[in-house]
Symmetry: C2
Subunit: 244 residues, 2 copies
DNA sequence: CGGCCTGTTGAAACTGTTCAATTTGTGTGG
DNA sequence: CCACACAAATTGAACAGTTTCAACAGGCCG
């Protein structure tokens, strides 16, 4: 992937977070980003270790996970192309969670110190990056509501709606269908359910005529009812953030 | 409460987030903070409205909530003295959640625009405030793990441990006991449980000899076993953040 | 071809919910 | 100071959603 493709992608991403001055933006992109490829199911960040670089996903998917002592896993976030991986640990002495690749991944990396220095020098960049971390926090809050208070069917429907909205925003989804890059076990780990139950609920949604499935392709067959079942309101994604 | 008390409290808070330059700090405190009192169970922030001021809790407790369409509530965060209320919405055009007082509250407020301007002017302040929002995000991740993957007993035990650690850090808790400023219904809403079940689990923890209770006073009677039952590791609170 | 991961299905078991009633505590007004 | 009202806490019993355990099918990779 040529250098300019990365620049474009990063620029497009930040533009959804704040109105960034072109000069600031080019300073950010002039940083010593290095491209790196990661195989599937590979640790990118490990809990307990100090963050040293910040990754930007160019292609592929990843997730943040936390584990209980007895080995149960909770996927607390899913990262898609255009997401910055280590911003959540930007100012921490050690990471509080792992990041693992969900698919093979192409990313660009920059030393985290350089990013800190740039944020200190350019308030416009800081505001855009900060906003990005705030939006991720907003998604955490919605997930807490989703897991804490919605029954499995609504919970899964909500996840499907969110995925579509986020993939759509980065041109990775059609109007009605998209590819869900997760196994049912991973879906369960993201929603506090067992893989068995995810399977059953998926089939219920299908039987209800809300979605169709083919492998991991999801085709929404009734948007109105899916959104209603999910109690989905995309406000929390703050997609309109930098539009004014 | 005299002006200096507020300054001290804000200074102490930020010192736990980053090493802040004294000059920067005094600029922050020189902002036009106004003191305000809020009665119990009163909305401080409402979902959908644009954030206009940023509050700092001097005394009392509050919580962030999100509601499902059918009125179920999830408490996604509890705020304690020293917490900044509106930082999570700092760069948003509208809030994605409500904030409600848990007890009568004394807070100091500043126009959010002034805070944005100061963050743009003073990178040291920005870093400290940003770190504060990142720590709150880290707590969200732990809560997701807690609600998604731990059974009710561990879940409640974890909440009790977190409360103690956070209150202890602001000198609101003894070594073994503290006051939990929430009803059992609110506790349930914070953990995705019903109030009935919270009651039963609380009694289990008591019967197991892990805690004692008197009204909302919690007395930990066996720290080792409570932490084990909770699978509690305070890393995610990043209490050591600004120590280096 | 064989092995393994993922998905699928059924039956039984269990954790947590729901509904409903009762108790306790606290503040208010008489 | 007592009676009353109301919120919060407590308890029991029936119920439901989700998990657990187990088995099997399908597809992909070495």
């Amino acid at each position: 992937m040529p250098k300019s493709a990365f620049s474009d992608q990063l620029a497009r991403k930040l533009a959804t977070r704040a109105l960034v001055d072109p000069g600031d933006l080019s300073a950010l992109m002039a940083l010593s980003w290095k491209q790196r490829s990661i195989p599937i199911a590979h640790y990118i960040v490990r809990e307990g270790l100090p963050p040293q670089r910040c990754g930007f996903i160019m292609e592929g998917y990843a997730y943040r996970q936390k584990l209980t002592l007895d080995g149960q896993r909770e996927i607390v976030a899913v990262l898609v192309p255009g997401d910055l991986i280590d911003l959540q640990n930007l100012y921490f002495t050690q990471s509080d969670h792992d990041v693992v690749s969900l698919t093979p991944l192409t990313m660009a990396e920059v030393p985290i110190v350089e990013l800190r220095e740039l944020a200190a020098a350019l308030p416009g960049i800081a505001a855009a990056l900060w906003t990005d971390t705030l939006i991720e926090a907003s998604i955490y809050r919605e997930w807490l509501l989703n897991i804490g208070r919605r029954p499995a069917k609504a919970r899964l429907a909500h996840m499907l709606c969110e995925f579509h909205a986020r993939l759509r925003a980065i041109d990775r989804a059609g109007e009605m269908e998209y590819e869900l890059p997760m196994t049912q076990e991973q879906l369960g780990d993201a929603m506090g359910l067992t893989p068995v139950h995810v399977n059953r609920v998926l089939k219920m949604l299908e039987a209800d005529g809300l979605i169709g499935r083919n492998k991991r392709q999801i085709k929404v067959t009734d948007w109105a009812r899916l959104r209603t079942a999910a109690d989905f309101n995309e406000r929390y994604l703050h997609l309109d953030q930098a539009v004014p």
